[in-house]
């Protein structure tokens, strides 16, 4: 792994990484611990969902941009159609992104979603519909971010291909032109 071979490559954005993980962990921890200690469902619901919403916002608006250089949003154009936009930084900046940052970003996204799925299964087994509601909301938020950023990444890969093709095409054509100009 990177950790062994690149001792100088630390997290480039420690604060952002911290916040990226903070709200996810807080939501999960609060949900799990409060089920043991707190009796009031309303407080559990509101706080857990609030933390999950904060996490969604942080990931989408802050850590997505800073850690992996991706962003996505929805627009409605003049014709009234809904367009989803998925964007990434250009290839040079993308390749300069810190590997640890992006590793952390993606893994915590996936792990959080997996944790919520696990909790959903638990509440299903116990027939607790109201807790299932909480978990459902948090899971929806996690999955929304995963889908959004995965689409950004696919778009990024498509662009690499397009860019490569264009570069090859332009090089080929300029080579042919220079060949003809010589002759």
């Amino acid at each position: 792994m990177d950790r062994l071979q690149a001792p100088e490559e630390n997290y480039a954005n420690p604060k952002t990484c911290f916040f990226h993980v903070l709200f996810k962990a807080a939501a999960l921890a609060f949900y799990i611990l409060s089920a043991l200690f707190v009796d009031n469902f309303v407080i559990i619901f509101v706080l857990t969902v609030f933390l999950a919403a904060l996490d969604f916002w942080v990931v989408k608006n802050v850590s997505g941009r800073i850690l992996v250089g991706l962003r996505w949003w929805n627009e409605i154009n003049d014709q009234g159609e809904s367009i989803w936009k998925f964007e990434c930084l250009d290839q040079e900046s993308l390749s300069r992104m810190n590997k640890k940052d992006s590793w952390l970003f993606w893994w915590t996204l996936y792990l959080t979603a997996a944790a919520w799925i696990l909790l959903a299964i638990f509440s299903l087994i116990r027939f607790q519909a109201d807790y299932l509601l909480v978990v459902g909301v948090c899971l929806t938020l996690s999955i929304a971010n995963i889908i959004g950023f995965t689409k950004c990444r696919k778009d990024a890969k498509k662009q690499i291909q397009q860019f490569a093709q264009q570069t090859i095409a332009s090089r080929v054509s300029s080579t042919i032109q220079s060949a003809f100009s010589v002759v």
Binding site: E9, K15, W57, I66, G80, E81, L89, D90
Partner: protein, 255 residues
């Protein structure tokens, strides 16, 4: 997204994107000016060419974008923003605050457009162009909290029921419009129905006031919903909306 995508952006979306652009510029351009052991010194780019989108090229108003592109080459100290004097990594907190302010102002403007009388109601499609779900989220939570707090028994159940009914109700109503052959965008409609909950949130809990506020909510939702479907199906689309607000009103009164 293809390179030929040249759909002009809505002005308020453009300003959002301007802001995001500036934030990305700030976070990348401050790289070389600060001592970051982790990151290899990145040549300060004049702009972040976000390659899939056309707006860099053509659509944004020039003044905003003169700033980065006019920066000549690798060393552009004139263009590097605030954080050049700081020895630490660029502080994202400033930009975070900007983003928060932007989102909050969007909530307020959406609320004003939807709930209060204003000239834009004739063109409903334009009004909720910048839909967001934060407003509805807060309103639903607030309504659930109010109901739960004032309920004498079964507080948790009341909250869960209120939340589930409102959330599921909004989704089902939207599906109803879509299935009636209407032209409405899913999230826009969810956003609309959530914002129309606002009157019910703020009205104090007496019968008359609740009646007034639910009529206000329905009236607020009416132009958007009716514009979405054909004339013969308007009642089919609007009746469930009215029904939902009436049932929320009953929830408020009865509990």
């Amino acid at each position: 997204m293809s390179h030929s995508d040249t759909i002009p952006l809505h002005p308020s979306s453009q300003s959002d994107i301007d802001e995001i652009e500036n934030l990305i510029n700030a976070s990348v351009q401050s790289g070389p000016a600060t001592v970051l052991p982790a990151r290899p010194p990145s040549p300060p780019r004049a702009s972040i060419p976000i390659s899939s989108s056309p707006f860099i090229a053509s659509n944004l108003p020039p003044p905003t974008y003169q700033k980065p592109p006019t920066a000549p080459g690798p060393t552009t100290p004139a263009v590097i923003p605030v954080s050049d004097s700081r020895p630490s990594p660029p502080d994202p907190l400033d930009s975070v605050w900007d983003t928060v302010k932007r989102d909050l102002s969007r909530i307020v403007s959406n609320l004003k457009l939807v709930v209060f009388p204003n000239p834009n109601r004739e063109d409903p499609g334009k009004a909720l162009r910048d839909w967001d779900l934060w407003g509805p989220f807060f309103f639903i939570i607030f309504l659930g909290l109010t109901l739960s707090w004032s309920a004498s028994v079964k507080k948790s159940e009341v909250f869960a029921v209120a939340f589930a009914v409102l959330a599921a109700g909004a989704i089902i109503l939207t599906l109803n419009v879509l299935l009636l052959g209407g032209h409405i965008i899913f999230f826009q409609s969810l956003s609309l129905l959530g914002y129309c909950l606002f009157p019910l949130d703020v009205g104090p809990l007496s019968l008359i006031v609740v009646t007034i506020t639910l009529v206000w909510s329905s009236w607020a939702a009416y132009p958007f919903m009716s514009a979405a479907v054909g004339p013969r199906r308007k009642a089919l689309a609007l009746y469930p909306v009215f029904l939902m607000y009436v049932s929320v009103g009953f929830l408020i009164i009865a509990i």
